[in-house]
Amino acid sequence: MSATYVTFSLGEHLVGLPVERVQEVLGSLPMTPVPRSDSRVAGLLNLRGQVVTGIDLRTRFGLPADEAGSGTVVVRSASGPVALVVDRIGDVIDVDDVQPPPATLAGPVRDLVRGAFVLSDSLLLDVRLDAVLALDR
């Protein structure tokens, strides 16, 4: 059973989301920071006249915020679009044969990853999008 995934990089990881959950993929967008909010909220952005919340995926994954994200993945959620700020946008690829997540994964990432796909030269992490979007957990 093969599926199409949008991929992007996040620190050392190559991460993917099913293409159906992705509304669009954009470059870096100007973001209005929101004081007094969760540190994982990157800010608000103007998506063609719509105000969309941006989530800093680096912080969400517990990675140091030492690199400014260069890509934005707009995903569909139950309550409307949400923008994920990622390091770099990758390719859209077809994958199959999901494996359990590697045992070496640790930290917050562990709870956010459902499984992994083995690619020729790397490992693609299949992310639980709903868990990523639920900041209170």
């Binding site: 209005t32 929101v34 004081p35 006249g49 719509q50 969309v52 919340t53």
Partner: protein, 781 residues
């Protein structure tokens, strides 16, 4: 069921619901004025229409109920029967039954489980002019059929109503026999007369799905946005290439040398501006609904509730055609219903109480709607018992909402505001109608959520008026754009009272023990530093935006004030739901997103001492609830004693001008703001030596200060040697309550120093009775 049929059923449901609302209104009005043939005829026609259509659609139960109701209505309309309270109740029950069946049909579950045979039989019996009250024995033979006072005497004699002693029609029997023959023809005539009028209405108006209007509204919102972006691009160099969210963008038109393209675009912008403004207005108008869509059910609500409470209440509705945005109509529905129920349940007294108080037995409730300077005002007044400030403050103290000291110095206006505090309910007993401690605070929250305000005024014994002020529309609001740090924020214009320039305006921000205050026209204004609040770097204050949030006035320190802009409000997503200082976000003219500051959130911070709470949180100290950290004014009196009183109780701080002090009876007073303010020497309240006269008689050289507190509506001046500090009580040190000596109710720690808490009540008692002009005249003479 095919689509065509579906459509017919849907239309029938919509139309019937509208008709039923109107019937409710008419029936209640008819009870007061049973002579109105016009209303009776209208009710009759509406029920007749429902009966006819339900027969056509194959809804037998509905048809049966409507038919029985129609029969009774026909007799009433023709003057054969009199509309008694029982009959009115029966007809209202019929309306409820029809509504229930319709709801069931709407839900797709057919006509529902009930057959309403009892109701139908009661209706038949009522037509036959038999008492319908359950449990009452059926009258054997009554010489003159019920009508107490029929409109026309002829009706009594000739009306072919149910002959006395005729057999009671059973539930299953045909009731039509008891009905005068001419009913059907008359009905038909009515219908024919009705047709041309209806057609006229149909030609000039169309039913539009609300979803269509909502989407139109959204599109217009985006158009306004685009227009703002274009004019920003035209007006300044800001434009789209400016990094959004960047530093302050001056929107002022630049006198940039010779840019013909820009000028040309400018002339093209003009008609576009006009066009989109007109479009915005037109769509707004399309969304407008008369306030009556909410009010229509109130006569019924008031009637039912008044009957349940054993009260007599008449409802007058003025300005029913006042229009407001559809979204607002929905938003005010629940708060208004709550207020109306409250007024009937708590506001208006029982007839006996009213008569004892010298008022007419029937209470009057008035709903009034109007447009005032671009806002919609809805007022609900009753002539009931009113609110007793003393009872409210006593209750608030009991509930721990305020301290006894605050209560003692509270004005009537402030006391009334207490009913909007969460957890407050004045109802002595919990009734099934209200008094559960939720309600007024929810009303306030809901009204504020749509950018409105709630005001309450009341005179004990005379009644209460609640005034809701609402914006005309929800979607687009004027806002003031301010800059804090590198970001711009929008402040809803309705909250802004004035702007104070700190530079060169002669205004000085005083930093008292880490708390900023501003003296503005002799008034002490607490400040919230926007830079601290919004995590920006603090510099010298640029400007102060004075905000008025439900009468709480405070200043917001910002770096810069820019233009006003019409903003389209977007709600914040789920990830930002917990940020209490923002009420939403908007896209500014240059495409950047700006957060909208929330007045209620800010005022909460202004009053509880945000900085203080933060410091404590950082220090890891166990947080006593924020309300416990009182902000105190510390004064020096009676030598070197430091005394404190709550800032909430203080209205002003004044310097004392010795020359203006005059003798008043046994004490002293000054002329103050067009009135007379008695002076109280704090030293004498706390049992010290009164030393000098307030004016500084003995060694008049030293200047002295007056802390103005209010006693009800009247100010009282507390004379002290100096005002030392305004600071938060240190909540980590438990306050020492209890009498510590004359005029002292306890101790507290402020800024590391122990201070005595002044007994405000005792101090106010020293002021003697409220002075009158006559008293002063006498004193001066």
């Amino acid at each position: 069921m095919d689509d065509g049929m579906d459509e017919i059923v849907r239309e029938f449901l919509v139309e019937s619901h509208e008709n039923l609302d109107q019937i409710d209104v008419d029936l209640v009005a008819l009870e007061r004025d049973p002579e109105s043939r016009e209303r009776l005829a209208r009710v009759f026609r509406a029920v007749h229409t429902i009966k006819g259509t339900s027969g056509f659609l194959g809804l037998p139960v509905l048809e049966g109920v409507a038919h029985a109701g129609e029969t009774l209505l026909a007799s009433l309309r023709d003057g054969d029967l009199h509309l008694s309270t029982e009959r009115a109740s029966l007809l209202l029950a019929t309306v409820d039954a029809i509504r229930e069946i319709l709801t069931s049909v709407e839900a797709g579950t057919g006509e529902g489980p009930r057959t309403f045979e009892d109701l139908v039989s009661l209706l038949h019996r009522s037509v036959a002019d038999e008492p319908v009250l359950v449990g009452e024995p059926a009258p054997a033979v009554e010489p003159a059929p019920a009508p107490q006072d029929l409109p026309a005497p002829a009706g009594v004699v000739t009306a072919p109503t149910a002959p006395v002693g005729s057999p009671v029609p059973g539930p299953g029997s045909t009731p039509v026999r008891a009905v005068p023959e001419p009913v059907e023809p008359v009905a038909a005539e009515d219908d024919e007369r009705e047709v041309p009028g209806r057609r006229g209405a149909a030609e000039s108006s169309v039913r539009v799905d609300v979803a269509v209007l909502d989407s139109l509204m959204r599109l217009v919102g985006e158009l306004v946005l685009t227009r703002n972006q274009l004019s920003a691009h035209h007006g300044g160099q800001s434009g789209a290439d400016q990094p959004a969210g960047g530093a302050a963008v001056a929107a002022a038109p630049t006198g940039a040398p010779g840019d013909h393209g820009r000028r040309a675009r400018g002339s093209m912008m003009q008609p576009r501006n006009l066009g989109s403004s007109d479009l915005q207005d037109a769509v707004m108008k399309a969304r407008m609904q008369p306030v009556d869509t909410v009010w229509a059910k109130f006569p019924r609500v008031v009637r039912d509730l008044a009957t349940a409470c054993g009260k007599d209440v008449s409802l007058t509705m003025l300005g029913r055609d006042t229009e407001l945005d559809r979204g607002l109509v929905e938003a005010v529905r629940d708060p208004l219903t709550h207020l109306v129920r409250n007024a009937v349940d708590h506001g208006i007294e029982t007839p006996a109480e009213r008569v004892a108080a010298g008022k007419p037995a029937g209470g009057a409730l008035v709903l009034r709607a109007s447009h005032e300077s671009g806002r919609v005002v809805i007022e609900l007044s009753d002539d009931g018992a009113g609110l007793d400030p003393a009872a409210i403050t006593a209750k608030a103290v009991e509930r721990g909402i305020i301290t006894p000291a605050q209560a003692a110095s509270m004005s009537a206006h402030d006391a009334h505001a207490l009913v909007f505090r969460p957890g407050f309910s004045t109802a002595a007993a919990v009734t099934n109608v209200s008094g559960r401690g939720v309600g007024m605070d929810v009303v306030k929250t809901n009204i504020e959520a749509i950018g409105g305000t709630v005001e309450l005024s009341s005179t004990p014994g005379r009644g209460t008026t609640v005034r809701l002020t609402l914006p005309l529309t929800l979607a687009i609001v004027p806002a003031l754009i301010v800059v804090v740090g590198e970001q711009r924020y929008a402040v809803p214009q309705t909250l802004v009272r004035e702007l104070v320039a700190v530079h060169g305006g002669g205004h000085v921000v005083e930093d008292v023990a880490g708390v900023q205050v501003l003296r503005l026209r002799e008034r002490l204004l607490t400040l919230v530093d926007g830079r601290t609040l919004l995590e920006a770097e603090s510099g010298p204050p640029g400007a102060i935006v004075v905000l008025d949030v439900d009468g709480r006035v405070f200043g917001l320190v910002v770096d810069e004030v820019q233009d006003t802009e019409e903003i389209v409000v977007s709600s914040l997503g789920e990830h930002l739901a917990g940020t209490e200082v923002f009420s939403g976000a908007t896209i500014l003219g240059d495409g950047a997103v700006a957060l909208i500051l929330d007045g209620t959130g800010l005022s909460g911070l202004a009053l509880t001492g945000e900085q203080r709470a933060d410091l404590l949180a950082d220090a890891g100290s166990e947080d006593r609830s924020r309300e416990d950290a009182r902000r105190l004014v510390v004064v020096r009196a009676d030598g070197e004693r430091h005394l404190a009183l709550p800032l909430d109780a203080v209205t002003r701080l004044e310097d004392l001008d010795g020359g203006s002090v005059e003798r008043l009876g046994e004490g002293w007073a000054v002329r103050y703001r067009g009135g007379i303010m008695p002076l109280v020497e704090v030293a004498s309240v706390v049992g010290g030596r009164p030393g000098r006269t307030p004016g500084g008689g003995a060694d008049g050289s030293a200047s002295r200060a007056v802390v103005v507190v209010s006693r009800g509506e009247h100010p009282v001046g507390l004379v002290v040697d100096a005002i030392v500090d305004i600071a938060d009580e240190d909540p980590s040190v438990a306050p020492q309550d209890g009498r510590r000596g004359p005029g002292v109710v306890g101790g507290a720690v402020v800024g590391g120093r122990l201070v005595e808490l002044l007994d405000l009540e005792a101090a106010l008692r020293c002021a003697g009775p409220v002075p009158t002009a006559a008293l002063l005249e006498e004193a001066v003479a």
